[in-house]
Amino acid sequence: MTTPTLVASRTALPPEGANLASPHFVSPRGGPSGNFMWMKFAVLNTLRNRRRSLVTVSIAALGTAAILVAGGFALSTYQGLSEMAARSTGHLIMAKPDQFNKDEDTPLQHGLDNAQELRKQLLADPQVRQVLPRVEFSGLISNGEKSTVMMATGIDPDSEFAVKGPFLTVTAGEVLSSGSKEPEVMLGEGLAKSLKAKPGSSLTLLASTTEGALNAMDVIVKGTFSTGVPDMDRRFIYTDIATAQKLLNTQRVSSLGVFLARMEMTDAARQRFANANPTLTVQTWLDQAFFYKSVKDLYNRIFGALGMIIGLIVVFVVTNAMAMAIIERTREIGTLRALGTLPSQLLRTLGLEGMVLGGVGTMAGAVVAIAVTVFLLVVPMEMPPPPGQSKGYPLIISFDLTMYLATMLTMVTLTVLASIWVARKTVNMPVVDALAHT
């Protein structure tokens, strides 16, 4: 009745007492050939209902692109704001501790006496590009008929503009320069308008000296500028540091702004300079970048919530597609279980299906996001002015490989987990019930 050869080679039942759950009895599916088979099976399954898979992949792509574009916009904003903040104050700000912690009773009460000596010491550091002294004070500015409050900053004009570049938008006249014969100022355009001042106009600065006496000085308007923030333009003036010190009757400066060769050097340099000058406080640009921090905090929340919502939508869409596919294939899953497929093997292939849908979607989304990024570089677009500002800014989307990889990995992981989660019930249902499913 039977051929000996076939009987001999027929699958033997496990020996008595064998542990059927031991690795010996679990088929060795981990090899490259096995993985390829499962992946091929997963890809073929995603192609069963092409329209549904196309819609799923499209939504995953759009969602991923939206997250990457929004994230790239946030990153470019953070980068721009951080550079602006560091350019404004310097990467490091050195001053006496009270300059940061306490209000002044008189101008420059907590100022630095030995600014020149300290500046030379700092400039000797190879990582330091420039050290800019600052004198910050307030007072009144008058055109003879009208006086108004000013917030003034005394700067070293040549060094300041050499280091910072065109950090101010000059709306009329010229920027300050060192060595002028007459004391000069630059006015915010709102302040100039209020005082009816133009380049060449003569104005009077009025401020308390460091001894508390009132001092006045006539100055010439060299130019007007716009910071982009109307409230600041109505109050701000720049003058050279010698004029400021003469008005305040002091040789002190408020602080020294230290400009480093690269942003990444900031923390190490801060530690180094703090150790070398224990009586001074060294703050980083980030310590004083209140606008940057508040914008970043706001954007992180907005874009974080947006990303989570989009991510959830993508996961739900993939989950829904997988749920429909699994329900449609319940009997097939029962058949495969009857043939001896382990639930873990089925979960793996169904997870791979989710990975294919999510992976193709996120890759397509990344391509779309890169295309948008490149398009905006080729065809620049302008964002409208933010609230409280008068100027727009270029719409730039940053490309950050880490963000791309993290987003894609997260999306794919979520779609795989979601697929496994929706599949687990069907895969583990009794085989008889799965086979009877209609």
């Binding site: 039977t2 027929r10 699958t11 039942l13 059927l20 009857a338 001896g340 497929t341």
Partner: protein, 227 residues
Amino acid sequence: MSQAAASVVEMHGVHKTYHLGEHVIPALQGIDLNVRSGELLALTGPSGSGKSTILNLCGLIDTPDSGDIVLGGKSVTGLNEMQRTLLRRDALGFVFQNFNLVPVMTVAENVDYPLFIAGVPAAERRERVAAQLKAVGLFEHAQHRPDALSGGQRQRVAIARALVKRPRLVIADEPTASLDSHTADQVLELMRELGHAEGAAFVIATHDSRLTSRCDRVLALLDGRLV
């Protein structure tokens, strides 16, 4: 070879009850059964008589309420789901009424699947799949998808899939019900030939009198009892 030594599957006093809402349906009431190696056993009886329940229990896709099932001389009644799955994978074949082939796989891949999940090396799998497809006369259709085949051809693929791993026992539930009479004859003959050639026992649930006439033994069921 003694009759006991040649037994592939035995059932001893097996009871099985289903619960449909508040209704209790006794599907099997004390079944004793012994299927020998290479035997084609037909189970007949009206719907609800317990044929499919016996197939499910012998195929280890369901468990009895009481009694004992012995496969290859060892009781399988107390095995957990993982152990039953591994036994199905290694020792049992299935042929379904509606073929239940995987539509995205080719004919060759469908036949290969039981060997693939059993961890048989690729080279050996290729040889065994080719041999099995030749045995069922579908070697030329190896790269076709099931939807390109007729009903009879699909059932032959299903038989090849069931036999390719050289199982001790093949469970066949109404294997000819979806086929016309001529095709059903061909499929029956194929099962008989291959079953005998490979020494696999077949337990077949059927209403088809042509099929029962070709089986080695026929058992009739009524209300969960052998009659």
